[in-house]
């Protein structure tokens, strides 16, 4: 359970995961925000109008994935670093995960890094394709990580240069 472990459950993730069909069409945001807290920068930052306007600042974000282009601006603006973009259309055998990464060193393009799951376990290897910095949120770089397609839904962090941050 999320409140006990800090890791969202499969059911919680199901609620925020677009349909298979939408996922295969191209990049789309996954908002892993499951607790009502007073916060709305995701809505304010989205230029596509894909995140529904909040009637109460404590509302959970609601994504209209037909409007979402997967641009990733919400990734850098979410104070909780809880938004990711996934792209199954990236290549025939690889998918893309765009994730917020506030650690140093920021990985180099083409670097092979450990791809970590939601519990920080190594799920496999990923290749850094791009590091994107959004205006005003330069200190939350968004790392584009190419991973095998079966890891797209589980990889949510990276470990750069074997540097261990925990344990």
């Amino acid at each position: 359970m999320l409140t006990k472990t800090g890791v969202p459950t499969a059911q919680e993730l199901d609620r925020v995961t677009p349909t298979r069909h939408r996922l295969e069409q191209g990049p789309v945001a996954i908002i892993e925000c499951f607790q009502q807290i007073p916060c709305n920068p995701c809505f304010l930052s989205c230029k596509q109008g894909a995140i529904q306007e909040f009637s109460d600042i404590n509302d959970l974000p609601v994504l209209d994935d037909s409007k979402c282009t997967g641009c990733g601006i919400c990734i850098a603006n979410c104070p909780g670093l809880a938004i990711f973009v996934v792209d199954y259309s990236y290549s025939p055998d690889e998918g893309l995960v765009k994730l917020p990464y506030e650690f140093l060193p920021v990985p180099e393009i083409d670097a092979q890094v450990d791809a970590l799951d939601r519990e920080g376990r190594i799920a496999g290897k990923g290749r850094v394709v791009k590091v994107q910095r959004f205006k005003g949120q330069e200190r939350t770089p968004v790392v584009w990580l190419a991973v095998p397609k079966d890891l797209v839904m589980s990889v949510r962090n990276i470990k750069v240069g074997g540097q261990s941050h925990a344990r």
């Binding site: 925000c33 979410c78 104070p79 920080g120 200190r139 941050h165």
Partner: protein, 358 residues
């Protein structure tokens, strides 16, 4: 004797906002803080804030401090003194302060007390070993002075401070061995928890620290599990090596000046301890003394900023100063505060505040 319209004690998120609001209405403000830097706890907050755009959401605390300080500097009618430690409140309405080796006597027509809160400590065997820190001290060392507290940390407490400081330690290259939380659930925002979980840090809910150990400084701690009645379970002990134990088990308001001034106080555990009664303008039971921020109930900094605005506006108005859109500004701050406190995360605060409104 230093005379002013409004003396504001504490230049954190609440005090800075109180100063700006009162000065914008024309009041002569004396802003005092014992620290050498303005911003209170904001300057240690390297993470992005929640809330709304008006409350600087998505900005980091340290950047919010700079914004507020720049705004304070725009006013000629704010006398801002850092390194000024207020020592006491006297019955004739005078406060005294130590300022750069001098003893100051200050008489203001209104006071805004925005002194913040201090950390609670946790009793356990060997909690006096070097290496046992409060989370605020760890943040000050790491984020303000660039000094690492150690190599490997056990965090005690999973409120927002425990979670955020763990994240900041990871960013600074310190290992976090785990977060120990006595309650059955994580106390802070779950997005913060998810962030450190995916960096590989375990969170031990329903666990507490049994004892720390070490010859001359911390070398580790034994933690154990608690049952549903919060009683430790024999045989569940886990030995965790670490050279730092960081205590983040909550804050308690720094209310000494309020007690000295004779404000009516009440024990409200939801707000961190003894806090003052207040009216909707944040005035205490002593006419002319206002409060803002954690001193009147421990909350997030966003709430402190809004309370500062309210107290600053109300204090200036009570002295006859005015601003064209006073009602609008006041109402805006009130509704933003209500918004922050209205969700499930604000339930504890709401129930605590109910006990306090005069």
């Amino acid at each position: 004797m230093l005379k002013t319209d409004i003396a504001i004690i504490g230049a954190g998120p609440a005090g800075l906002n109180a100063a700006i609001s009162a000065a914008a209405m024309g009041a002569k403000v004396l802003l005092l803080d014992r620290d050498d830097r303005a911003g209170g706890q904001l300057i240690k907050q390297t993470h992005k804030f929640f809330g709304s755009r008006e409350l600087h959401a998505s900005l980091r605390g340290i950047d919010i401090a700079s914004l507020l300080l720049a705004r304070v500097r725009e006013f000629d009618n704010i006398d801002f003194r850092l390194g000024a430690t207020v020592l006491g409140y006297y019955e004739d309405g005078v406060i005294t302060a130590e300022y750069r080796g001098n003893f100051l006597k200050i008489k203001a027509d209104r006071y805004v007390i925005a002194t913040g809160a201090s950390e609670k400590i946790l009793p356990f065997p060997n909690n006096d070993l070097p290496g046992v820190y409060g989370a605020g001290a760890v943040q000050t060392l790491t984020n303000v002075y660039g000094v690492l507290p150690g190599k490997r940390v056990i965090m005690v407490g999973s409120g927002n401070i425990g979670l955020i400081v763990s994240y900041q330690l990871l960013q600074a290259g310190v290992q976090v061995a785990g977060i120990v939380e006595a309650a059955p659930g994580i106390g802070g925002y779950l997005v913060h928890a998810a962030k450190i979980r995916r960096a590989g840090v375990p969170i031990y809910t329903s666990h507490t620290i049994k004892e720390a150990y070490g010859d001359s400084s911390v070398q580790g701690a034994v933690i154990w599990q608690l049952d549903e009645k919060w009683q430790p379970l024999n045989g569940t002990e886990k030995d965790i090596e670490a050279d730092v134990i960081c205590i983040a088990v909550g804050l308690t308001p720094l209310t000494e000046l309020l007690w000295q001034a004779g404000c009516q106080m009440k024990y409200v555990p939801q707000l961190g301890g003894h806090v003052n009664l207040r009216d909707e303008n944040l005035m205490t039971s002593v006419p002319g003394i206002y409060v803002a921020g954690d001193v009147s109930g421990v909350e997030e900094a966003s709430a402190a900023m809004l309370e500062g605005k309210l107290a600053g506006l109300a204090a200036a108005k009570s002295l006859g100063y005015s601003i064209e859109n006073y009602d609008e500004l006041w109402q805006q701050a009130i509704s933003q505060l209500d918004g922050l406190r209205s969700g499930p995360a604000g339930e504890k605060i709401r129930s605590g505040l109910k006990m306090l409104v005069r």
